[in-house]
Symmetry: C2
DNA sequence: CGGGTGGTTGACGCTAGTCAAGTAGCGTGG
DNA sequence: CCACGCTACTTGACTAGCGTCAACCACCCG
């Protein structure tokens, strides 16, 4: 049943490129899918109060882990991509922890016991999960470095480099992709203000480095100029390119 | 041999309280110690170019993972405590990655192959390492939230709450401890300026919340007032109190 | 006891946040 | 299918918090 749901989800995928990638990412985790409940999040939906006793695997889309530090102050501490594993019990005890996707996303929701059964019986799967968690750790580390050392323009460039590396599709001389987050969410992810993010986008557009069509569509016209805007670009590209294919081989 | 070194290291520990704690933290990892090379870092020493092919376990002290984002810009992305495991291959590809301790610290350096042998043959050990890495992940997550949402005063309070929870020893009405980092390193950890950190310390001292004796010694005279300065205090205390004893049971 | 480094403190400037007004994309209903 | 309205986004003017720079101080070493 869940297999059917998964296949139909694949059929409804927006682009062939993305479809194949997500698929490859999930291959080593397929065992888990049979034990999973299928959860679909529409645009801008939150999966709050992550029931403990469950493990979540991202199947499709880009998902933010967010928390509410004070009233009105939201922080997106990390972005999750297909194949990422979330164990609520092992997260930091932050108030209002939730998973949220701006665009649509899909999860597998698995009971902790089923998860433990499958992973202990299959050493390969266990290895995959272990590497996955470490990759998420490395991304957190990168994000701390970016948030600490970069100014607003560099942060926005870092985000575009990350998104472009993950989601970008070459079209002509440009690299195009759909932004996985709204301006406000980008701001929460970069610890900036939405106004500042907007201003920086406008500046990049004025410099002919990016082009905007609609709210979510971005074309990077000059990738090397974008990468040059941020001292961590090289590291980010390595992290996000290496993070994906490492698991499919 | 390494056992003797370890025991003598324990004997030279500064305080009984810390000694016991560190010991308890390391118990589940004892198997690894027999295969380890013992590395001692003096004050303000760096362990750069972490040879790949090795795994490091923190045995004593507090250690920062630092990187150099641009020339002259150093970031400490995380603090490591006894029992924490560092696998250089699984870190983010950041330039100039190194481990540094301000005060003295000790490591076990283990070849990856020996580490794999021990951990695959002992399920208990493997579980411990898995939980350890997850705890480090949760701390990174907390740190992202803190760096994103807090202002300078709140950040410094967060740091003192973290250090106090980890290292603090009640003495009379106060809680005293040695700061594990210099002002400059605290600044790099909190993504602040050393001047700003110093100013904030002075403000807390003027408000009679803390008392300073020497450069590294801190007494928190009013713990609840300190905790009230930062909206994440409760979460930080839970994270750092829970992170430790969970492994000793 | 003196030099040096690390820490403290003040004055000033810049970056990014705040507030407010205006615009445009996108979904809804006619 | 088009018009309308809501909300997200954009953009400008202003402000505040933190970084920068410079001078001074104090701890710690020899």
């Amino acid at each position: 049943m869940s297999m059917m749901a998964y296949n139909s989800a694949l059929r409804s995928g927006e682009r062939a490129g993305e479809r194949v990638r997500a698929d490859a990412e999930l291959m080593p985790l397929m065992r888990l899918q049979g034990r999973a409940q299928f959860v679909r999040l529409g645009s801008c939906c939150a999966l709050a109060s992550l029931g403990s006793g469950f493990v979540y695997v991202v199947a499709k889309g880009v998902v933010g882990i967010e928390c509410a530090v004070a009233s009105g102050v939201r922080v997106i501490t990390a972005l999750l991509y297909p194949g990422d594993v979330v164990v609520p019990e092992l997260q930091a005890p932050l108030p209002g922890l939730a998973l949220r996707s701006q665009r649509s996303a899909e999860f597998w929701k698995i009971t902790t016991t089923a998860f433990a059964e499958e992973s202990t019986s299959d050493n390969q799967l266990w290895q995959t999960i272990f590497l996955r968690l470490n990759a998420q750790n490395a991304r957190q580390q990168m994000h701390v470095a970016a948030m600490s050392a970069l100014n607003s323009e560099e942060k926005v460039a870092a985000f575009l480099v990350e998104s472009g590396t993950r989601l970008g599709i070459p079209s002509g001389r440009s690299i195009s992709f759909e932004l996985p987050l709204s301006r406000y969410s980008i701001a929460d992810y970069l610890s900036l203000n939405a106004d500042t993010v907007s201003r920086t986008f406008s500046a990049l557009a004025a410099a002919k480095i990016i082009e905007r069509r609609g709210r979510f569509h971005i074309s990077v016209r000059d990738w090397s100029a974008l990468a040059a805007k941020c001292p961590l670009s090289e590291a980010i590209i390595r992290l996000h390119e290496a993070g994906k294919p490492a698991l499919t081989r």
